[in-house]
Symmetry: C2
Subunit: 425 residues, 2 copies
């Protein structure tokens, strides 16, 4: 069909669980952006007959595009060229220009040449080479209304070939439907059912508009898809605006925006700096801030005080307070944020202290109890979280929540009423 | 065939790239541990005819096991029960005991009952229910030598059903071959070709022994697989021992061992404590140390000094040194490690300073130049790294390398000659 695609990934490592197939989600998303729907994605073992059969089965369903990934290397297990030729009843043809390119690459990089690499310079008869991004050329082959595209399995090479060659070709050929305009609205601090309640007034399934939600460790993403007609794009923009109105400060960005980077933008705009004082997150708040390139403009530094001694010595948390309230307490979270602010001389600061588990919990202070603190304009605010999940999940979520607390405080509350809502764990 | 499996995952979200299919790698690994080889893993859209066809195609290849995942919920898009029945030419049968269990669950959790949920209490005629782990029962169905197993798509529920029901059944039935003994030898600081050279003397393909390597951000893993006979296990143990002899201190553990946790074990055994002083890794070294539960026994704290001012003030790095050598220098890395050690009063310390990019590089100090420092027993050692990759890759790799430098120094060099080899980027 005009707007469908299939994918076949070869490689025992995918079936043995040695690696997770991120190429599939990458390609699925990219295809959909072009208005092409993937209907089947198959991982098949490195077996010539099985790959040949899989290609044949797929061609029988007549997708507009069949993407093959993997099996383009020089080893005996690399069988995509052979299996594609078999499936079409074609022979393999030497391509001297590819051999030359591969030889040159080997020379330039000082790799040792092996005759096995000759294999990579052969293609099924009639195929057109896609230039190498590593040491393996890809190829196109057309038959019976299906465009077969063979790409490497190495994710970096696959992505470069996709963006550099395949995507432009598919756009040019208009293989998809009108294409979809997609907007991913990123939120933090909202559960799926809560978001559904808040957004229930939106009529989001009319006029070619599709809306979905996806919960991840980075919060809830609301995915809007509309056919890329002028009306569709307008509807998408109106819906996004309406969602922002309803959810207010819970929305931290769109598409690939990152919570820490979005918070950094607000700091930069306000000419403010920030520092961190961490306990249970163990450096993750600082790590998240500094994930963003250029974060040294506003993030001056942080301390990880994993012991009570370090909390007192570095952050000036009163030893009597630690003894009276315990390290995991609202008061200590406040003192840690204030201590970090003072130590680094920053305008703002955030802090975390909690029980990340799996051990260390008690009846009064169970695993998942976390206090996050923030100082903005001399005012300290602490929130108490009760988080489910593993140690890793609790730590990540705590770091995100601490950064989000700062972010919400940097927004002007008057314009963002929802920014004052309590955080939903 | 007696020892093969296939997997079919249903769900548009898998084909749109909304989520990555981690169920596949989980099941692939688990099957292999039982000596069952997955030959095909298909993701198919939520389309009854397409799922039915996929099940039929798979049954035609006569795998011992066919695992279905997803499509067991109450919505219109949940079609696994129907498609399985269609593929076998069976009807769907009501199971009052399942309906009762689902109703009870809804009552207990205070969920609102919807008549849609009745669907989840039906199974193809002759199927045997697998008890719910969420709100959806799974099922078994046997036909023509293939055991069909339907599991939920939610990873947590799938895993619980697998370990609680399916794996014990498959073990009991001895569906696999003898089963495989698997050992994953974890190394850091070795490239694949270097490892292949070093290990080329091993005769690793004899006697049912299979060896592979997998490069990831956590280093190179050498995967040994032997048929789980007494001879096979012995061969595996001997090979592991030989690999440890050859690679020495490059080996940091086996199976699920983690580099930072392994380093923590050495610290704990030696009764030593550690702290960190970080620049380019921005908290990632501290985060990696504190990923391990119980790390407060040896990790006392860390500082992230993203500005020169913080490097001087907190870590006591000489301002004149910073001016003369620059923050990214061997001398500053040494001073940062020594400063962290002194600040936290720990026995050991590690430090990082470098250019993580994408901006900030120069001809003298390009992106990817990183210095890692360590103090052990009063002696400071710095290593210089030239790392490829993205900002994220450079940061992660730097943090791992800094921790690994400490780890190698904590090993007794006399017993681990390879621990003195220079680090290979």
């Amino acid at each position: 069909m005009q707007n469908t695609a299939e994918m076949i990934f070869t490689g025992d490592e995918l079936l043995r669980g040695d690696i997770v197939n991120t190429n599939q989600s990458y390609l699925g998303e990219k295809l959909l952006d072009l208005g092409i729907f993937a209907t089947h994605a198959l991982c098949v073992a490195d077996d010539r007959a099985a790959i040949t059969k899989a290609i044949g089965d797929s061609l029988g369903r007549q997708p507009a595009v069949l993407i093959l990934s993997g099996g383009l290397g020089p080893t005996e297990d690399d069988l995509t060229r052979e299996a594609t030729a078999d499936a079409f009843g074609l022979g393999l043809v030497d391509h001297p220009e590819l051999l030359e390119a591969i030889r040159t690459l080997f020379k330039d990089r000082g790799f040792v040449w092996s005759e096995n690499n000759r294999k990579q310079a052969t293609l099924p008869d009639g195929a057109i080479a896609i230039p190498m991004r590593g040491t393996a050329p890809g190829f196109y082959l057309e038959a019976g209304g299906t465009l077969v595209v063979a790409l490497p399995g190495v994710p970096r090479e696959l992505k470069e070939m996709w963006t550099g060659d395949v995507e432009p070709l598919l756009r040019e050929r208009r293989l998809g439907t009108e294409g979809f305009a997609v907007r991913r609205v990123r939120t933090f601090g909202l559960g799926e059912s809560r978001a559904a309640d808040m957004l229930s007034g939106l009529e989001w399934r009319g006029a070619g508009m599709d809306i979905g939600t996806r919960a991840s460790k980075d919060g809830l993403t609301i995915i809007l898809r509309a056919v890329a007609t002028p009306q569709g794009v307008l509807l998408l923009e109106q819906t996004e605006a309406r969602i922002r109105e309803i959810l207010g400060g819970r929305v931290y960005g769109v598409d690939d925006d990152d919570l820490a980077a979005a918070t950094g933008k607000l700091l930069r705009r306000a000419g403010l700096t920030v520092s961190s004082g961490e306990s249970c997150t163990g450096g993750l708040v600082a790590k998240r801030f500094t994930d963003a390139p250029g974060s040294s403009d506003y993030f001056l530094g942080g301390v990880v005080t994993y012991s009570n001694g370090a909390k007192s010595k570095l952050l000036g948390v009163d030893e009597a307070l630690l003894a009276a309230k315990g390290a995991v307490s609202s008061e200590v979270a406040a003192a840690m944020a204030e201590g970090a602010r003072s130590l680094f001389g920053t305008g703002c600061a955030v802090s975390t202290t909690g029980v990340a588990g799996p051990g260390g919990g008690s009846a009064q202070k169970p695993v998942g109890l976390v206090f996050i603190g923030s100082v903005v304009a001399g005012v300290t605010v602490v929130e108490e979280l009760h988080l489910p999940g593993t140690r890793e999940e609790i730590r990540y979520r705590s770091a995100q929540a601490a950064i989000d607390l700062l972010r919400r405080r940097l927004l002007r509350p008057s314009q963002n009423p929802a920014a004052r809502l309590p955080l939903s764990a």
